[in-house]
């Protein structure tokens, strides 16, 4: 709202009330200060109980039987008020109250039988088998009334709102069961050769019986090279270990009722007044969701090779991992044609993708200035390459589309490319003359539409020059191409700790290099969309005959094309962010010991101190629209203007008694 609100609207008007967009041509943004104040009374409380009990029995020599039962239950209660917004152009007009409550619980019951044995003091064997059941359920209930007499807080209870306006809702939001058999065996010889094998068989209520179970094996081995006799003489290498592993894991995060087609019976979807009553309706069924009875576990098969090394008495540590992860049966919500009807769509096993990558961490610990200064420097680097290996085999040329909103889906996935590339038109500058526009491939209604420049009607001048990808002499939807890649070239991080006497300073920064961001916020701030605030570029960097090198096209109130998904929105997303700086002072030993104090520290900390980036949006660290949903990868790197990462300053005191 603060971005969309026009800057000529003050926070308060001359009478001291909130100012807003009620005047003409001010758009429909709401006063952000008023929103904050009005939402201030909304509240949410929850009461959570967590517990775990277990029993353990050593039944035979070396065997232990253990049963554990854990419960996690929450009840929550929320209150939300609607408060009139007389200053807004599209206001709330009455006081209203919404109260909601929910309860949810999950329990986990785990039973294991484990075996542990050391033979001839060099062979270590331990193994276990087990069973685990998980059950979770949650239910939500809500009541609402409107048209309250006033905003007096003592009146804002449901019972005294206008009864005619009451609505209520109740539904289950969490309802699943999981059951697993699993077993693991570990063997090591002199702590030098290490082997592990795991086998698990999982079942989930989210799949129908025929696809419910899946088996996931894994094996790994390690070789501590420094344990070998031939390494004895090499003193610089204090620790060296080689690891390799292969394994499979499963994913079932598709929502609880993915398998089932269901119907709803609410007014919005299916109600209709067959009897002609102007103030009531007959109940009608409408499809609520389409089920996919065939969904099965998504499986990821990983292979990795790793090396852990410690040098100079472990002052220098190096960890290197090289991996390949191949996911088959990727669970993804594929769009369906509108001709099948509207309803929530299910996840389907649609694709295979592969990630290959390298993770490297190097850390050095040392001392300086006669051991008065201690320090640790850790750097990490990781990179991956993503590729879609397979999509719907029956329809291999069919791209997977991302989510559409005001703009149609801006990401697409095709075989042979990374998942969720940005798709749109490519802009090759701006037309400077009518001749240039006339000679270029025609975009009907765009560069053949008239604009007025210095009183002259001309066509196409000052408009974006879209590239004719397929060379058919026309700019059409087929001229959309891949214009950006949300996957970074690499990520890195740097963590430095320095200590002097009782003081410790820790600095942690992290960065991303080589990714593109689709700055969707510009759709609102740079183009003639809804009214609201605009960037300075619109004023100073729109094309005019005097500013031929402008970034934006000519200002034209009839222009509905320039804001289409195009290379204009693509920006480099690289950044470095100082995540954390912390200075700690440890209380001297013995300080306050008479008060029972047993150590303590005082610290000052700042998170997100600064960010170095060329990205023009609010925050290059793009948070996703709804990160808990499946198929969220579809919006990777699309900046929809979420709340940016805050900067925090903290002062803290730790005391131990």
């Amino acid at each position: 709202m603060a971005i969309r609100m026009q800057p000529i609207v003050p926070v308060y008007d001359v009478a001291g009330n909130y100012a807003g967009t009620l005047g003409s041509n001010l758009g429909n943004a709401k006063n952000p200060v008023a929103l904050l104040e009005r939402a201030g009374q909304n509240g949410y409380r929850d009461l959570r109980a967590l517990g775990n009990v277990y029993a353990e029995a050593d039944i035979l020599k070396d065997f232990t039987l253990r049963s554990s039962f854990g419960l996690d239950g929450t009840i929550a209660y929320g209150t939300y008020y609607g408060i009139p917004e007389p200053e807004a152009s599209e206001p709330v007009r009455t006081y209203s109250v919404r109260k909601d409550g929910q309860y949810r619980y999950s329990w986990t019951w785990t039973n294991t039988l484990s075996y542990k044995k050391t033979l001839a003091s060099v062979h270590n064997v331990n193994a276990f088998v087990g069973l685990e059941s998980i059950s979770a359920f949650g239910e939500f209930i809500e009541g609402f009334r409107d048209r309250y007499y006033s905003g007096d807080p003592s009146l804002l209870y449901l019972d005294i709102g206008d009864q005619a306006t009451q609505t209520n809702r109740n539904y289950a939001f969490n309802d699943y069961r999981l059951f697993s058999y699993f077993g693991q065996a570990n063997y090591s010889y002199r702590d030098k050769y290490l082997f592990q094998a795991t086998l698990r068989r999982d079942a989930s209520s989210r799949f129908l019986a025929a696809q419910r179970y899946a088996t996931f094996p894994a094996v790994s081995a390690g070789w501590r090279i420094t344990g070998e006799p031939f390494m004895k003489g090499i003193s610089t290498i204090s620790d060296l270990k080689l690891r390799a592993g292969w394994g499979q894991t499963g994913n079932q995060e598709i929502g609880d009722y993915n398998a089932y087609t269901t119907y709803a019976a609410d007014f919005d979807r299916g109600g209709y007044s067959l009897n002609g009553n102007p103030n009531a309706y007959n109940t009608g069924f409408a499809i609520q969701r389409f089920g996919n009875p065939n969904a099965r576990w998504e499986t990821t098969t990983s292979i990795n090779v790793g090396l852990d090394a410690g040098l100079f008495n472990n002052a220098l540590e190096v960890n290197l991992d090289v991996y390949e992860r191949k996911t088959t049966g990727l669970l993804y919500t594929r769009p369906r044609p509108a001709t099948v009807g509207q309803g929530d769509l299910p996840a389907e096993n649609v694709a295979a993708i592969r990630n290959r990558g390298v993770d490297l961490q190097v850390s050095y610990r040392g001392k300086a200035l006669d051991n008065n200064i201690r320090y640790t420097v850790t750097g990490n680097f990781s990179t991956y390459r993503n590729e879609v290996l397979e999509l719907n085999p029956a329809s291999p040329n069919e791209p997977l589309l991302g989510l559409g909103s005001r703009l149609p889906a801006v990401t697409r996935s095709v075989v042979g490319q990374p998942i969720s590339l940005f798709c749109g038109y490519i802009i090759d500058g701006i037309f400077q003359t009518a001749e240039e526009a006339a000679a270029a491939p025609q975009f009907p209604g765009y560069n053949d539409a008239e604009v007025v420049i210095n009183g002259q009607r001309v066509k196409g001048v000052g408009k974006f020059k879209y590239r004719d990808i397929n060379n058919d002499g026309q700019i059409t939807a087929d001229d959309q191409a891949f214009i950006g890649n949300p996957h970074p070239k690499f990520n890195y991080g740097l963590n430095v700790s320095v200590g002097y006497k009782n003081f410790d300073l820790t600095v942690f920064g992290q960065g991303v290099v080589g990714n593109d961001v689709f700055n969707y916020v510009r759709y609102w701030t740079d183009f003639n969309t809804f009214q609201g605030n605009r960037t300075k570029d619109v004023l100073y960097n729109s094309w005019t005959p005097e500013n031929p090198g402008a970034k934006l096209p000519i200002l034209d109130e009839n222009d509905a094309i320039s804001s289409r998904a195009s290379s204009y929105f693509i920006e480099k997303g690289s950044y470095f962010r100082m995540r954390n700086i912390q200075l700690t002072y440890s209380l001297p030993k013995g300080f306050g010991s008479r008060l029972g104090l047993n150590g303590g520290s005082i610290y000052v900390q700042t998170t997100n101190a600064f960010t170095i980036t060329n990205y023009s949006g609010l925050d290059p660290e793009i948070t996703l629209r709804n990160s808990s949903a499946t198929g969220e990868d579809r919006q990777l790197g699309v900046d929809e203007g979420r709340y940016p990462t805050p900067r925090q300053f903290l002062v803290g005191l730790n005391l131990a008694f």
Partner: protein, 589 residues
Amino acid sequence: MKTIKKWGYAGMLSVLVMTMNGCGEDFLTRTPQGTFSPDAVTDARGIETLLTGAYGLLDGIPASGSTWHGAVSNWVFGGLTSDDAYKGTDAGDQPEQTALERYVWVVTNEHVRGKWRTLYNGVSRTNDVLDNLAQVQNLDTARRRVITAEARFLRGFYHFEAKKMWNNIPYIDEQDYNKEVPDSAKVPNTENAWPRIEADFQFAMQNLPDQFPGEPGRATRWAAMGMLAKCYMHQAFDPYTGAPNSAKLQQAQTLLNQVIASGRFALMPNFGDNFSAAPANRNNRESLFEVQYSVTSSAGGGGGLGDELAWPYNTGPGGCCGFYQPSQNLVNAYKTDANGLPLPATFNNTDVTSDQGITSDQPFTPYAGTLDPRLDHTVGRRGIPFKDWGVHPGRAWIRDQAYAGPYSPIKHIPERQFFGVNPGNNRLHSNNYRYLRYDHILLWAAEVEVEIGSLAKARDYVNQIRRRAANPDGFVKTAAGQPAANYVIKEYPATSTAFATKEAARQAVRFENRLEFAMEGHRFFELVRWGIAEPTLNAYLTTERTKRTYLTGATFVKNRNEFFPIPFEEILNSNLNGRPTLTQNQGYQ
């Protein structure tokens, strides 16, 4: 300790056994809670409820998404794309509507896609009814037949609305459709859908009753007959050349004459009755098929939600959002000559004066020339009572007069006494959209008579329309009970040159159609139906852009803008075996 261990051992063994047993299929089966399963729709009560759901999309309000895309009133696709109206409000709001108004019809326009989704959602619901009906036991044969006929009426209706928009559409029936198989609805749009739409209305006409007592919302035999006639009228002229098709005209004539001869329908005494939310005016004797709008104080959907943007602004009725403002061209069309007859050739040469450029606190005297009284039931303008909302104050009810002129929409706005039922969205209302009325029947009959019958009969039908409009009881009146403007309207005399030739009569009938149905979302589709969209709209743009500068450069392109583009993403989503099943319309490739 030892005993505890033993106890634990025994206890845990039993625990393990229980776990093994407990984790059978019962533990792992969680069927959806709080929703209906598909089994619920296969009994007699369930299939009726499913059928209600198929009616539920008539208003064009989908379950989610932007509601005004699908509104049955077609204020976007039939209104602001025509010479009736502008997008209205201000320049920046809903830029995709501006693109539609300027005939910049890109294949990715979200409004066009929203309409497609809504209509095909309707098609899928009707097919779901027919699909499930076969499995319903305990349903008497007569009702089963009527349910089939109601569902086929609705299927015809949704396809008809799509046909009007895109011409080349997939026609999907219950043989194709299986909700569990997404590919089942990937049907090509290369076959002409008219015969199959007609077959749906034919079946409905033969199997529906004359009426459903107490249930005026259901489609009757007469609604089906009217819709079938409407199908024929939409094929009566070539949309590109305007050449008449006498076979279709004859088919229409038979049905129209049957409706007129039945004596079941009559014009309401006052023109304005058709735009009133008063209970006596809803489902009145003029209506063949009315889309029911209902509104409750608690539910947020239905009831004109699709038109929620198309209300006066600020202190005006509803207070938001100022869209769908009538054009100056439309207002001019209501001028009459000294004989009370319209001026189809010259109406736009001079403007009906307005308060353009005048604020509400400056003095203004409304136009004193002679006017058709239907103007003030069709257009809200300064100085004239706006239903029971008081006198229109001009600019105070307009969002940006310099941009989109001084007029407000009025037909679909309910009277104040029926306003504000729902506090969350006070613009929800119960002013039904009269989709098919007896005045439609009469004016189509007049069209048919012009082409293949008697000009005298055509004149008689038009005069029935004008006689009702001329009823002084129906004039908009001032608080003092006087006509609010200088209303002069007469019937065409037998000697009128307007019905002397086929060409003149055709023009007179079509002009009457505009005066009667303006601002009801039909105009664009009527111009295309008559094959005169290109000359009419380009002439309109030439004069209108002198008043509305944003229309500069806008052109209706022949062989393209007669029909809307098939939504781009729907073509992508129609892929079957690597090839899209839908083909783009001409001019949009």
